[in-house]
């Protein structure tokens, strides 16, 4: 019998690194040369089927790159089970930005969150500013998944999402219980304690 799981995934990264394009490629297998800037956030879902017939449904929050002042992003990464932090391989500044996002996730997000660092626009390797080694080394230090992708060509896109699905705790109840509890509190909390604990998280989005 096949099992079905559902996870909340959040995409973070500097403006114009290709977050929306990556999701569009993953969800609809499309690519637009010009993709309008995301304002606030976009919400999409996509299901991945693993080898053992387990299906993992991603609820994807595609955030706006310019929400750099941390006013809104917490609302989206709160209770997220996984995060994809994107940078643009043709701009080293975007890797710097990715680092700050990762630091923030490690500090603020659910401790069990699975984080993947993604170097997008690998089709533009000729204009590369971020070497594979540099990013890979950083990812290893921080214990992150890492890959290079190209939303334009589709290279590596479904692979990274499948890899995340595999890494998510699909069987072990102890690790996932925290994520589940946080999720319940954020969504439809009834338990007063959980509400109280969810409250500060909610405040965080305003400060």
């Amino acid at each position: 019998m096949s099992k079905q799981f559902q996870f909340k995934l959040v995409l973070l990264g500097e403006s114009a690194v290709g977050k929306s394009s990556l999701v569009l490629r993953f969800v609809k297998d499309q690519f637009d040369d010009y993709r309008e800037s995301t304002i606030g956030a976009a919400f999409l879902t996509q299901t991945v089927t693993l080898d053992d017939q387990t299906t993992v449904k991603f609820e994807i929050w595609d955030t706006a790159g310019q929400e750099r002042y941390k006013s809104l992003a917490p609302m989206y990464y709160r209770n997220a089970n996984c995060a994809v932090v994107l940078y643009d391989i043709t701009s080293s500044a975007t890797l710097e930005k990715a680092r700050t996002w990762i630091r923030e996730l490690q500090r603020q997000a659910d401790p069990s969150i699975v984080i993947a660092l993604c170097g997008n626009k690998s089709d533009l390797a000729a204009r590369r500013q971020v070497s594979e080694e540099e990013a890979k080394k950083y990812a290893e230090e921080e214990g992150l998944m890492w890959a290079e992708t190209s939303a334009k060509s589709g290279e590596g896109v479904s692979e990274i999402f499948t890899a995340i699905a595999k890494k998510l705790p699909l069987t072990a109840p102890p690790t996932s219980s925290r994520a589940g509890a946080g999720r319940a509190a954020g969504r439809a909390g009834v338990d007063l304690n959980k509400q109280a604990s969810a409250q500060p998280g909610q405040d965080a989005c305003n400060c």
Partner: protein, 763 residues
């Protein structure tokens, strides 16, 4: 520069100009036209995004008028303010686009001309003014940050409205970037450039460019003002002026800055308790205005106007920022296609350039998609909110005009009754059913979410099916009538000074009530909201306005009372006009005249003291009364005084013999009777009302009845008690969500993965 994109035909541009500025229309008339989508004479075709003359209207609405002191001026082209802003933009650009060495970037041209500016070498200290200098006051530092800001802006400008080729022109992109750069560095450096501003500017620029005309000397002589207003050389400057005006209202939704680090007290052990007790106003250092507005939209405005929808959104855990930020920041450019959004802007600019109406548009938008939202779960609601469904009206008012009118109605009277009237209007004009579809039953969770085109779920009875067909048949007629009606009202409202939308709401409701009542008779299930507000008045809290039915009832009874008083006066006048000299029966006439005078004074008493109980016997003389009663009996007791018949009528037949006998036996007392009665009427009102046994509905609404309602609280959900749950939580349970309960109690891991049992499983 020869354009490869469409521009306004000069004929229709001239037409629009004439309509706006040369037909003697007052500004308020033009505003009304904009609200009702009657601003442009030429029918909008779908080939062109814009309408000829739109930029003229926007300039009129947004820019400061030339003669601000004149009351109710005829609309005049804001030519002085245009000249002013052009000069200002030009000098700002020259100042801020100049590198510290006095040079300009290649291809930079002075606005209003096509020539490059002269390089003006600035004599300054090379120690500091030098790109490589590390000096703190090195002007190059600022310059480099300006260059990088322009790059950031260009990143968004490049991908503005990808489907409109106009915005792929490098020249257009350059101008948009310059405007945004000037705005974010000079006008509003505290907020700076924020994503989304580019999408507010783009339609403005498009409209100005669409109307722009080349200044050729021959033509310029004829319509010099039009040509100056629409000068192609100044497209960017004019778009900048419009954008500045627009951002005066819209910039609050882009504010993000925190105040200087506030002293944050360490959370005491009681901090959380305090937070919960204080509800949403707990200690928060800074809430961005956009978040504040979003919260207000959902937890105040929507909650008052459509409590059921609010409850379901709250239960699903929808945070208002998720949809509200985009709706407000972009002013609906992503929710509607460009022509519709521009139409919406016409009305928005016309009625309030500070955009106080914008949040109410959001509320009206939410109510419009309530049938999608209410039956859906979290994920389904998100999908509807973030991919706003498109609507179209084949004929009749454009769907954005409906939205504007509804937003105005909500703003004027934010009540549940207004919310309900919106739902009815949406049924009539947009064919959105009033009944909320049932959430899809659990076994069918693979099916699509409650899409608009989806057939109603099989759970409905046969009567509901019959009803929908009736709805669609009934739809055409009221739609036409309503539009004509609403337009007429809009035109008249200007003179009356009463809000047009409010005025138009009442007759519309009256039209709908009989129809609605019918539909409820047919439907066995309770409607999803109390459309006919039949709560007794004493249960209604004092802050709620009277329901429309009550008001209608009152008006009707008032009208019938007036008619009776008028009849009485008519009779009295007739009697008094009779000449005593040629009367055959003088005593009878004198008696009649006395009766007439008494009747007149009684009418006076009724009118001055606002009495609601009218004693029929005192309105007419005895003869007349007897005659009238006979007439009534002859008519087989057909009601004479309108549909609402007050108490005296049924009692009428009996007094006839009594009065008759009293007249014969003790005539003087019968005349003295009215006098003490009249004096009792002049007693203090409290005793009067009690003496008159107030049973009419209007007196039942005395203030003391309100005390109870505060506690009976029929309308208020328990969530309004001091312990307000945080916005994300769901204190209001939905019955079908048994699995959510299960999710809470069972180990979360399993519950979360157990999506097979999710009744509203998302697909």
């Amino acid at each position: 520069m020869e354009a490869s994109w469409p521009r306004a035909a000069s004929k229709s541009l001239k037409q629009s100009y004439t309509k706006l500025f040369a037909s003697g229309s007052s500004l308020s008339r033009i505003r009304d036209a904009a609200l009702a989508d009657r601003l442009f004479t030429s029918p909008s075709d779908n080939l062109n995004v814009c309408q000829a003359g739109r930029s003229l209207a926007w300039k009129l609405f947004l820019l400061p008028p030339d003669e601000p002191l004149q009351p109710l001026p005829e609309a005049t082209p804001p030519i002085a303010s245009i000249r002013d802003s052009r000069k200002k933009y030009s000098s700002l650009l020259l100042e801020h686009m100049r590198a510290p060495d006095g040079s300009y970037e290649e291809g930079f041209t002075v606005p209003g001309s096509s020539s490059s500016p002269q390089r003006r070498a600035s004599a300054s200290d090379l120690e500091t003014n030098n790109p490589l200098s590390l000096h703190n006051e090195n002007p190059w530092k600022e310059w480099f940050s300006a260059v990088s800001l322009r790059e950031t802006i260009l990143q968004d400008v490049e991908r503005t409205f990808p489907e409109i080729s106009f915005f792929r022109e490098p020249e257009v992109q350059l101008q948009l970037t310059n405007i945004l750069f000037i705005y974010s560095t000079v006008t509003n450096p505290a907020v700076g450039y924020r994503q989304g501003m580019h999408e507010l500017l783009a339609p403005l620029y498009y409209a100005v460019d669409y109307d722009s005309v080349e200044e050729t000397p021959a033509e310029a002589e004829n319509d010099s003002t039009l040509h100056e207003l629409c000068s192609r050389a100044w497209v960017a400057a004019d778009a900048w002026a419009l954008f500045e005006a627009m951002m005066r209202g819209a910039s609050r939704w882009y504010e993000w800055q925190e105040p200087p680090a506030a002293s944050r007290t360490n959370p005491s052990p009681f901090a959380t308790h305090v937070n919960i007790a204080a509800g949403p106003v707990e200690i928060k250092p800074y809430i961005t205005p956009v978040v504040e507005d979003c919260n207000r939209i959902q937890s105040n405005s929507l909650r008052t106007t459509d409590p059921l929808l609010w409850k379901h959104m709250q239960a699903a855990g929808i945070e208002p920022q998720i949809y509200g930020i985009r709706w407000l920041r972009l002013l609906y450019t992503r929710e509607f296609d460009m022509p519709s959004a521009m139409k919406l802007w016409d009305g928005l600019f016309a009625c309030d350039p500070t955009f106080g109406l914008a949040p109410w548009i959001c509320v009206a938008m939410l109510i419009r998609i309530r049938n999608e939202l209410i039956p859906s779960d979290y994920s389904g609601q998100l999908t509807s909110l973030l991919r706003y469904p498109s609507y179209s009206t084949a004929d009749g008012p454009h769907h954005t005009s409906i939205l504007l009118r509804q937003a105005l109605a909500l703003q004027m009277s934010p009540s549940q009754a207004t919310g309900e009237s919106l739902i009815v209007e949406n049924r009539n004009l947009l064919n959105i059913p009033i009944e909320v579809p049932e959430p899809p039953p659990p076994p069918q969770r693979r099916g699509t979410r409650s899409g608009r085109d989806k057939a109603p779920p099989p759970s409905g009875t046969t009567s509901s099916g019959a009803k929908t067909s009736v709805d669609s048949r009934q739809q055409a007629a009221p739609q036409m009538g309503l539009e004509v009606f609403a337009r007429g009202l809009l035109e008249r409202g200007e003179n009356l000074g009463i809000n047009k939308t409010f005025m138009s709401a009442v007759p519309e409701l009256r039209r709908n009530i009989s129809e609605l009542a019918l539909s409820f008779v047919r439907s066995p299930t309770a409607p999803s909201f109390p459309l006919l507000d039949e709560r007794p008045p004493e249960e209604r809290p004092p802050w709620e306005p009277k329901s429309r039915l009550e008001i209608e009832r009152e008006i009707t009874s008032l009208q019938s009372a007036n008619r009776r008083l008028g009849q009485s006066l008519g009779w009295a006048v007739d009697v008094l006009l009779q000449d005593e000299t040629d009367s055959k029966d003088l005593p009878r006439l004198q008696r009649s005249k006395r009766e007439a005078l008494e009747a007149i004074s009684y009418v006076r008493d009724i009118l001055t003291r606002n009495l609601t109980e009218i004693e029929e016997e005192r309105l007419f003389g005895e003869e007349e009364l007897a005659r009238r009663k006979k007439a009534v009996e002859d008519k087989l007791k057909k009601p004479v005084y309108g549909p609402v018949v007050d108490a005296p009528q049924p009692a009428a037949p009996t007094p006839v013999p009594v009065i008759e006998s009293r007249y014969k036996v003790a005539a003087p007392t019968s005349y003295s009777m009215p006098a003490p009665m009249a004096s009792s009427h002049s007693a203090p009102p409290a005793s009067t009302t009690s003496a008159l046994s107030p049973t009419s509905p209007s007196t039942g609404r005395a203030p003391w009845h309100y005390t109870r309602s505060n506690f009976s609280g029929g309308t208020l959900p328990s969530a309004s008690l001091p312990r307000i749950p945080p916005p994300t939580s769901a204190t209001v349970r939905r019955p079908p969500e048994a699995s959510r309960e299960a999710r809470r109690t069972s180990p979360p891991r399993r519950a979360q993965s157990n999506t097979e049992h999710d009744p509203l499983g998302v697909s």
